[in-house]
């Protein structure tokens, strides 16, 4: 690989290439429990042309290349399993266009969730995008590529459903536009009525190309927001509660959570029901409808609404929720990871019991949470475990718990979200053979030299 460093310097400039041990160490791992592997180079392109040149170089030299956003998937998706180049996209940080009337935004491939949220809050206060409960440095493009979720997923689906098109650099170096932007100056559709080619990139974990621009749907932002927390000690009623609440068609977001610590939460299952309004009257009307929808559980004493302390309410209403990161420090150890099966809502009781079982079996602190997707069509569930990074035994127990959680999910028919390598393999092994072959054909067609994030989706 002689001369590669010099070639990369020519493309992006000396300040934005590294082959030094510090960057190779840091970019060779993520905060989760997957084993590290060093890249040979880290580059930070500033524009599409630089991305293209780096990809062409990598393709010519057959060097692996791994695009990276915030690097917070936790499941090892940006660990360069076969070395090569890690491409940190975060210098591509421009918000290119907001079309307010048509409710979409076009941003570069490294724009973070936080920067876009702040920009919209300041300049378009009646518009918003679906912000995930992840730290604000996570990027819009990476979140879409892993079929992320966000505050608006209950209403509008996975964050990838909200994509309106791409500019993507293919593994062979061509710059390709996907969606209405390929035939029109407008970015209002990722496919329909044409063939929807966005599927060649969404969910592929960076194995089919590098997104350099992304169009994203924006949604109305009401002036007011509130949350009610429904609590029950009977997990079996949760699917019905979700069914009844979503029937109202008034809910912004529904998060279901349970955890043994702090003790006040132990033994109960909580539904955070978010709703919005432009006036107090609108908010109150929705609150009444929510109460009415769940009145039968209150009457039967199977559940009730919690009086939420003001601090806790503020934490819930924040988006992204900063307090979510605190889970990583419950053990004063700087770590957590979760296995995230996407499940039919009716399976929730089985999955939540499994989390509790795994927490006890492996002696680790657990959290079970789920976000309802698009009126209850499914739920993004998570088996989350916190760990002390300095405690190798605990790390090992968490690895085992996660593995068992994934096996359980797979056996129950779940799809494993942002899957680790072994989770990808579980799904590939269960996959219809013709589907598997189709995936293989797509990968071979787009990436004949197998340079893009190799190791992932190896069919």
């Amino acid at each position: 690989m002689s001369g590669i460093y010099e070639s990369l310097v020519k493309i992006v400039g000396e300040d934005f290439v590294s082959n030094q041990q510090e960057e190779l160490y840091f970019y060779g791992r993520d905060p989760g429990v997957m084993p590290p592997h060093k890249p040979d180079y880290v580059v930070m392109p500033k524009n599409t042309e630089e991305v293209q040149q780096v990809v062409k170089l990598a393709n010519k030299e057959k060097i692996p290349i791994v695009p990276k956003g915030g690097g917070l998937a936790l499941t090892g998706l940006v660990i360069p399993l076969k070395g090569g180049i890690v491409m940190d996209m975060k210098r591509m940080d421009k918000i290119l266009e907001v079309n307010a009337k048509n409710r979409y935004v076009v941003v570069e491939g490294g724009v973070s969730q936080g920067i876009l949220k702040a920009f919209l809050d300041q300049n378009y206060p009646d518009l918003r995008h679906s912000v995930p409960e992840a730290p604000p440095i996570t990027t819009i493009a990476a979140n879409a590529v892993i079929h992320g979720q966000g505050r608006l997923s209950q209403q509008y689906g996975f964050n990838s459903d909200m994509v309106n098109g791409f500019e993507v650099v293919l593994p062979t170096g061509e710059i390709c536009k996907i969606g209405s932007c390929s035939v029109s100056p407008y970015w209002f559709s990722k496919g329909p009525p044409m063939p929807d080619l966005s599927g060649l990139f969404l969910g592929w974990l960076g194995t089919t190309g590098i997104i350099t621009k992304i169009g994203l749907k924006l949604y109305p932002k009401k002036r007011l927001i509130d949350v009610e927390v429904f609590v029950t000690d009977t997990e079996d009623i949760i699917p019905d509660v979700v069914y009844k609440i979503t029937h109202t068609e008034l809910i912004e977001d529904i998060g279901v959570w349970s955890q043994p610590k702090p003790r006040m939460f132990s033994g109960n299952f909580h539904l955070n029901i978010f709703f919005t309004g432009d006036t107090e009257e609108e908010l109150e009307l929705k609150r009444k409808i929510i109460y009415h929808a769940l009145q039968e559980y209150i009457d039967s004493k199977d559940g009730g609404f919690m009086q939420v302390p003001s601090d806790l309410k503020a934490a819930f209403l924040a988006n992204p929720q900063k307090t979510m990161s605190n889970f990583a420090d419950l053990r004063k150890g700087g770590g957590f990871e979760y296995s995230g099966p996407i499940i039919p809502v009716e399976l929730y009781p089985q999955f939540v019991k499994k989390v509790q079982e795994l927490g006890t079996k492996y002696r680790v602190i657990q959290n079970a949470s789920g976000r309802v997707i698009q009126q209850g069509h499914c739920m993004m569930f998570s088996f989350a475990f916190t760990f002390n990074r300095a405690d190798h035994d605990e790390l090992d127990r968490v690895r085992k718990a996660l593995h068992e959680a994934a096996e359980f999910g797979s056996e129950k028919g779940a799809l494993l979200w942002k899957p680790t390598l072994y989770e990808q393999k579980m799904m590939i092994d269960r996959m219809d053979p013709n589907t598997r072959n189709l995936m293989k054909k797509v990968k071979n067609l787009l990436d004949p030299n197998g340079i893009m994030n190799p190791g992932n989706w190896e069919v």
Binding site: Q21, F26, D88, P136, T323
Partner: protein, 385 residues
């Protein structure tokens, strides 16, 4: 090694909240903004320190640069959601102390220490010239109410000296009883402390405290927020029992007593919060109140202000070591562009370090005919009756 940081440093999750302002509108870690590799962010620094402690990586020039480009601005402390947040900068300082012990510091930092040790200032300028700016300024006497502590920049830097002079004139106008130490003044040690030279810091601190006690000092007012911070918060550990004020606090008191009447001044001003006054000591309003006391002054805020203010890049000795220079993304240049965008023609500061950094940045950005850096005391003096 201090067990505290070595036993805690693994707790950083590298979630990256520390990179932003409270509302995520911009990157607010000066070193990360400048270099953009995650390794130059707080989490990068903490993970690399840990890997070095665990002998997973070796000490190197780059690691040294990564460690010393932190300006100790405390944005990370402000933004980190974890329970250990208040300790982050202390961990970095403790790691630096270990590096100093082993002698593997960047050459510029080494020169900084040598200069402070040999000359009492980081610029290798003569001790006998320290008070040269202060011709005619009264030396401190036991009967004076305040010792005015000027510091290294205010004593030696041409632009910071103007701050010192205007402050002296204002205090005289207000009838404050004070004196300076002139050539007998010693470096306060704030930068030496944050750069990790514990021995030199202790020597400076003990020397200063001894001198102040011998002179019967009861109240100290400082020009620099850096000196204010270290004298107020750390000197007491070494036996100091002086009351310490930043000059904006004292001027504010004088203004409230109507001892600093101001005339009208029609100009648009934006104020830059110094880290060691703001995030370190929560003094956000006093400088603004002073500016408001100048009639007709049009004060506009930069988007990043108070606890979200963007560091000028000069903290932790970087006003002298300049490890973040050389790019349009150097923090001082980013900051003056932000100030210019407000439409202000004056960028007000309350710190000689910020004065020096931002004045240089204005030149680099070719904004000399559009934006002028002025200290709060200079603005007040200009408009005083």
């Amino acid at each position: 090694m201090d067990s505290k940081y070595t036993e805690q440093i693994h707790r950083c999750f590298r979630c990256g909240w520390c990179k932003f302002t409270s509302d995520y509108r911009d990157l607010n870690c000066p070193a990360y903004k400048r270099f953009r590799f995650d390794t130059y962010s707080t989490s990068g620094r903490l993970w690399l320190i840990r890997s070095w402690l665990n002998e997973e990586i070796k000490w190197s020039e780059r690691l040294s640069e990564i460690l010393y480009t932190c300006t100790a601005c405390k944005n990370c402390v402000e933004q980190c959601p974890m329970g250990f947040a208040p300790d982050i900068v202390d961990w970095i300082v403790q790691a630096r102390a270990d590096v100093v012990e082993s002698g593997q510091i960047p050459a510029r930092v080494s020169r900084f220490f040598e200069s402070v040790y040999g000359y009492g200032n980081p610029f290798k300028l003569l001790r006998s010239e320290r008070g040269a700016w202060a011709d005619g300024v009264k030396r401190y006497e036991h009967s004076d109410e305040y010792l005015l502590y000027i510091g290294c920049l205010g004593s030696y830097d041409e632009n910071a000296q103007k701050m010192s002079k205007s402050l002296v004139d204002l205090l005289n106008k207000a009838g404050v009883s004070f004196g300076i130490l002139g050539n007998d003044e010693e470096c306060c040690g704030n930068e030496v402390y944050t750069l990790g030279e514990e021995g030199l810091f202790q020597m400076l601190t003990e020397k200063n405290i001894r001198q102040f006690k011998e002179l019967g000092v009861k109240n100290i007012v400082t020009l620099s927020p850096h000196a204010f911070n270290i004298m107020k918060n750390t000197y007491p550990i070494y036996g100091a029992d002086f009351r310490v004020y930043h000059y904006t606090q004292l001027l504010n008191e004088m203004a409230e007593k109507k001892r600093l009447p101001q005339k009208k001044k029609k100009v648009k001003v934006t104020y830059h919060d110094p880290c060691f006054l703001g995030r370190y000591n929560r003094i956000y309003e006093e400088p603004r109140k002073l500016l408001k006391s100048i009639l007709d002054l049009d004060i506009v805020e930069m988007p990043r202000n108070r606890k979200d203010a963007f560091c000028c890049g000069g903290g932790s000795g970087n006003f002298a070591t300049d490890l973040l220079a050389g790019s349009e993304d150097s923090p001082s240049r980013v900051r003056v562009r932000e100030a210019h965008k407000t439409g202000a023609s004056i960028l007000a500061v309350a710190c000689p370090g910020c004065m020096v950094m931002l004045k240089d940045a204005i030149k680099a950005e070719n904004l000399e005919d559009k934006l002028t850096v002025m200290d709060v005391s200079q603005l007040m003096l200009e408009s005083s009756i």
